[in-house]
C-alpha cells in the first residue's frame, strides 16, 4: 500500500519535472531574457577559473592527448612537413587570390567588408558539453563585442557570437547547423540560404534560382540582404556540388567552407550590427 503510494508520488514528481523542462525549452525558444542573462553571468564567473585551470592542467592534457593520438602523431608530423613546404608556395598564391577576390567583390558593386572594424581574439576553450559546435574567445563586451556579431578568420566566416560577458564571448560555429546565413554566388545574381550539417566545414545551400549560372568552384559570400544578421561579402566557401530541380526551378548546392574549423587559435569578431 505504502509502496504504491510512493510510486504514485514518484510518477507525479517525474511528470512535473518533465513539464518544467519542456516549459524551460519553450521559454528559451522564444528568446527569454532571463535565460540569456543567467548564462552570461555563469560565463563571467567561470571563465577566469576555466582559464586558470586550463593553464594548470595543460601538462596533463598534453600527455592525455599524446596518449590517445600517439599513433597518428608520426604520420601527422610527416604530413605537416610536406604541407609546410607546400604552404610556403601557397602564401604567394593566396595573397594573389585574396586580392582577386576583393576585386571581384568590388566588381559586383558592394563595398568589401574589410573596411569594417574587427576585434582580434584568441580561442580559449571548446565546448563544455558533448553536443553543439561552439567555442569561447577571450574578449567580450568590454571590447565592444555584442551578441549576433559575425566571427571570421583570415579565410572567411566561421560563426557568430551567441553569448557575451565582460571579458569572454561564446561563438556558435556556422557548421553547427543551428542557424542559417543568406549567401550570394560571386559573379552571378544567384542568392540562397546556407546551413551547416552539424559536422565538418560543409554547408548546404538552398533556395537558389536554377536559371542562374552557378558552377562548381564558384565563390560564395554573405549576401547581407535587408534584415540579415551578417554584413555583405564575408567569404563563406566554394561550391562543390550542384543539384537542380527543374520542376521547381530551384537549385541546391554543397558549399565547402574556406575557414578550417579544426584547432582554431585566433578569430576576429566583426563589429557589425544589422541596420535598424
Amino acid at each position: 500500500m505504502a509502496s504504491s503510494r510512493r510510486r504514485g508520488r514518484a510518477r507525479i514528481t517525474i511528470s512535473l519535472l518533465l513539464l518544467s523542462a519542456v516549459l524551460l525549452l519553450t521559454l528559451d525558444s522564444r528568446g527569454s531574457g532571463p535565460v540569456q542573462s543567467a548564462r552570461s553571468a555563469v560565463l563571467s564567473v567561470l571563465s577566469p577559473l576555466g582559464s586558470a585551470a586550463s593553464t594548470v592542467v595543460s601538462p596533463f592534457r598534453d600527455a592525455w592527448n599524446s596518449a590517445f593520438d600517439q599513433g597518428d602523431l608520426k604520420k601527422e608530423n610527416e604530413t605537416l612537413r610536406e604541407e609546410n613546404d607546400r604552404l610556403k608556395g601557397d602564401v604567394t598564391a593566396n595573397s594573389i587570390a585574396k586580392e582577386q577576390l576583393q576585386q571581384l567583390l568590388q566588381l559586383v558593386g558592394i563595398p568589401f567588408v574589410g573596411d569594417t572594424p574587427v576585434v582580434h581574439t584568441r580561442v580559449v576553450s571548446g565546448a563544455v558539453g558533448n553536443f553543439g559546435d561552439r567555442l569561447e574567445i577571450d574578449k567580450g563586451s568590454n571590447a565592444g563585442i555584442e551578441r549576433n556579431m559575425p566571427v571570421v578568420t583570415g579565410e572567411g566566416l566561421i560563426g557568430k557570437v551567441i553569448e557575451v560577458s565582460e571579458n569572454r564571448s561564446v561563438v556558435s560555429l556556422l557548421s553547427s547547423g543551428t542557424y542559417r546565413v543568406g549567401f550570394s554566388v560571386v559573379g552571378t545574381a544567384a542568392i540562397g540560404i546556407a546551413q551547416g550539417s552539424g559536422g565538418d566545414g560543409s554547408l548546404r545551400g538552398t533556395n537558389i534560382d536554377s536559371r542562374q549560372a552557378v558552377t562548381v568552384g564558384a565563390i560564395t559570400a554573405t549576401s547581407g540582404l535587408a534584415g540579415s544578421p551578417f554584413p555583405p561579402n564575408l567569404p563563406i566557401g566554394t561550391v562543390t556540388a550542384i543539384r537542380t530541380n527543374e520542376a521547381a526551378l530551384e537549385s541546391t548546392v554543397d558549399i565547402s567552407m574556406f575557414a578550417n574549423l579544426n584547432n582554431l587559435i585566433y578569430a576576429d569578431v566583426v563589429l557589425w550590427k544589422p541596420a535598424g
Partner: protein, 169 residues
C-alpha cells in the same frame, strides 16, 4: 548544511566546477565525460527513480547554464538518466560492481539519447548524427568508470536515504 538538499547542491556545484575546469580538457574523439550526468545516475541508484529525477533535473539545469544548446535539454537528459538508473537498480535482485557499471552505462546512454531526440524534435537535426554513437560509447564508458566516486558523494549527501532503501530491500 546537514539537509540532504543542501548537500546535494554542494555535490552538484562541485561536479559542475570540475566539469567546466578540468573534465572538458580531457577528450577522446572530441567527447569528454559528463560528471553531472554521473551524479544524476548515482543519485538514482541510491535514492530511487524519484530522487534520481530531482537530482538529474537540478544537475541538468546546472549544465544547461554552461552550454549553448536549447535551455532545458540537459535537464531532460539528467532527469531521464536519473530515472532509468533508479528503475534499473530497483529491478536488480543482487548488487555487484559490474552490474552497477552496466546500469551506469545504460542510464547514461538513455540520458544522451533523450537529449539528442528532444533536440531533434526542436529542430536540431545535427544532434542525431553518426557522431552520436561515439558520444554514447565514450560517455557511457566514462560514466561506468566514474559512478563509484559519484556514489560515495551521493551517500554523503543523503546517508538517511541509503539506510532506508537498504532496509526496504
Amino acid at each position: 548544511m546537514d539537509h540532504p538538499a543542501v548537500r546535494y547542491l554542494i555535490v552538484i556545484a562541485s561536479a559542475a566546477f570540475l566539469q567546466y575546469t578540468v573534465v572538458t580538457q580531457f577528450r577522446i574523439a572530441g567527447v569528454s565525460a559528463d560528471l553531472l550526468l554521473v551524479i544524476a545516475i548515482a543519485a538514482g541508484m541510491i535514492g530511487g527513480a524519484e530522487r534520481g529525477a530531482i537530482v538529474g533535473f537540478a544537475s541538468g539545469i546546472c549544465l544547461d547554464l554552461m552550454v549553448t544548446t536549447p535551455f532545458g535539454l540537459c535537464a531532460i537528459a539528467g532527469l531521464i538518466a536519473g530515472v532509468v538508473s533508479g528503475l534499473l537498480e530497483d529491478a536488480t535482485v543482487h548488487s555487484a560492481r559490474w552490474l552497477t557499471m552496466v546500469i551506469a552505462f545504460l542510464a547514461s546512454s538513455a540520458g544522451m539519447l533523450s537529449f539528442a531526440i528532444a533536440g531533434t524534435l526542436l529542430g536540431r537535426s545535427d544532434l542525431l548524427s553518426g557522431h552520436l554513437v561515439t558520444i554514447l560509447g565514450i560517455v557511457g564508458v566514462s560514466s561506468a568508470a566514474l559512478v563509484f566516486p559519484a556514489l560515495r558523494a551521493c551517500r554523503w549527501a543523503d546517508p538517511e536515504d541509503v539506510l532506508l532503501r537498504a532496509a526496504a530491500r
